[in-house]
Symmetry: C3
Subunit: 258 residues, 3 copies
């Protein structure tokens, strides 16, 4: 049984995700479909890219990850499949897969026989990406899906930058239900250099408190923690750091270790 | 493996959907259950009816569609099963299945042996519709579920009306996460007659812009598009048409082709 | 095929639930995973406890119920597995399973071979509870998961109290999408004693109306109903009792039968 994951900005109030599963069930009855997340902020490719990269490797080898955050649906942007790191990825050529293209095989999905007939121009998640994923899960060879390409879109923004030996700049790439602000700054790269002291600047605030887990944190004080995505997070014990700081997705963050 | 879909107004904050799946898992361990949508507006039978009709045919033949938008639960309204168009439908007799009764077999669910014991009067989704769906998925013949009836409730409202050769009246039947306003006006019926010009009236506004896909639309301008449900939609590029117009479910729409 | 349920306060906007399913799929490909509910109010152990107790028995025997409402993650609070009433339960030792410990076997999850390597201190749902559930679903004997203990945390609050022969005190333990206020007062214990008259006090209001099902209730009047969880609920026909009363989780309720 092959696994297919779905990562979209479709939300949950519509039948969009359900009908994608219907298309998959009709073509690949044995596939198991798992929702990775459907509440990516509308059109937020950088957020979806981060969530995908932090999580895909927990799934079984050869999982097919369908990612549809796709403001350009119906335009000339190409639909892609990518084979990388023992997993398969299906979605639009808009930078979602920027971090995967080294050592990857990338194909443009130009074989209509693997799509639904009468594909719409507004819902490729249902009409194109789901059927392709189902065919992959059923065992259609990757090379048959379309023509190999060498020039997929790579976003050059979105990666953190080390601007000095002890200073990194990154950004908020996700805000979770608990109001934790999740940065793209790798904890394993930074925290070993900061045995004593660290300053994280966001907006007009500088945060210096740290905690190894939430219960060990001080009350009513913003603190920095190595989050479950492997990056630095800004948290507030049993409260929302996002609300306290009033910042949103994309807010810049700078960390200095002292 | 048979597929069962769930379409309800139960939302996601409660265990109502989860416990329905528990009941199904206990009775029909092999069935695959797919959420079509659970955020139908509370008690909005017309919305659920539209979402069902636009989507059920994407699922495998013989899928059992459980639909529970049921303000009359526990009253004299009858519980039904409907066999139509190669699919099976289970839910209350309140008009949800109005569009399916031609060429359909309809039965009232009056055999308690296919329900949970000690059925509540407030949650037939768990106690009656889920077990019936599970028995159908396990192969219990449709005719055994209950007595055949010929008088299910048919809603006569909710269908669009052609009031002149070039004028149709319909309504907003769904608003999606992106703020697209989805009408019940069939695009394939209207757009071929409007090669040049079309006027869509909603509230105090008249919309004349059209686009074939979202990326091709002008910025900051409401436009009409053939949506993925096959009906006309009112959209705003990377923004919410619903918020811009301030209209809700049921708002009347009139289209004239010129 | 074994069933695993998930009950958390993780919400739906994050990939937290999805990645738990990925971990389970990688370890126990045959297990079926069902979401019981993920919108428990953040950190609300009493609410999760109630939702679990009202619903677990609808699932197949030997289902593994993973419950993660866990403000103490990473601290000294122990991770547990509980075998009780023909089901298995996995989650933190913070009172979630208070109602299950009589006639139960309880073990602390102290065998790292059944957890993910490099477990984080912030996400035991992914790194510890999901892999343990997957191993149980695969057939690892319960006794191998860890050391037996006799002193799990039992919450002594949260149970209703009969303060006089005809008077009970309880609280609001859940508010559903429809605005129904769900109490922890057992309907089967109270209603038979109130053939004629009942007074339910909440906040400054006294409610005396009753209904057997929603459609039978008077319009615009708060009423008491035996809810699908088996406890008394306060409802408002096709409207929100919670909004009308302005009360929240934990609000005290007193019932007197006359």
């Amino acid at each position: 049984m092959r696994t297919i994951t779905l990562l979209t900005d479709f939300g949950l109030q519509d039948p969009y995700v359900g009908v994608m599963k219907g298309v998959i069930a009709a073509l690949a009855p044995e596939a198991r479909v798992i929702d990775l997340c459907h509440l990516v902020e509308p059109y937020q490719v950088p957020q979806a890219r981060f969530l995908l990269m932090q999580n895909f490797h927990y799934f079984p080898q050869n999982t097919v990850h369908v990612c549809v955050v796709d403001p350009g649906v119906g335009s000339a942007r190409r639909p892609l499949a990518v084979k990388a790191r023992g997993h398969l990825f299906v979605g639009p050529d808009n930078g979602l897969f920027s971090d995967l293209f080294d050592d990857a095989e990338t194909r443009v999905l130009d074989r209509p026989k693997y799509h639904l007939k009468n594909s719409s121009q507004t819902f490729h998640g249902r009409d194109l990406f789901s059927p392709v994923a189902a065919h992959l899960a059923k065992g259609v060879p990757f090379a048959r899906l379309g023509t190999k390409i060498a020039d997929p879109l790579r976003l050059t923004t979105g990666a953190p930058v080390r601007i000095a030996r002890r200073v990194w700049q990154g950004e908020i790439v996700h805000i979770d239900r608990f109001g934790n602000l999740i940065t793209n700054l790798e904890a394993a790269q930074i925290l070993p250099l900061a045995p004593r002291h660290l300053e994280l600047k966001i907006g007009l605030r500088t945060i210096t408190e740290r905690a190894s887990h939430y219960a060990a944190a001080p009350d009513n004080t913003l603190f920095v923690i190595a989050g479950s995505a492997g990056t630095l997070e800004i948290s507030l014990k049993e409260d929302s750091a996002a609300r306290k700081l009033g910042v949103g997705l994309g807010a810049p963050v700078e960390v200095e270790v002292l």
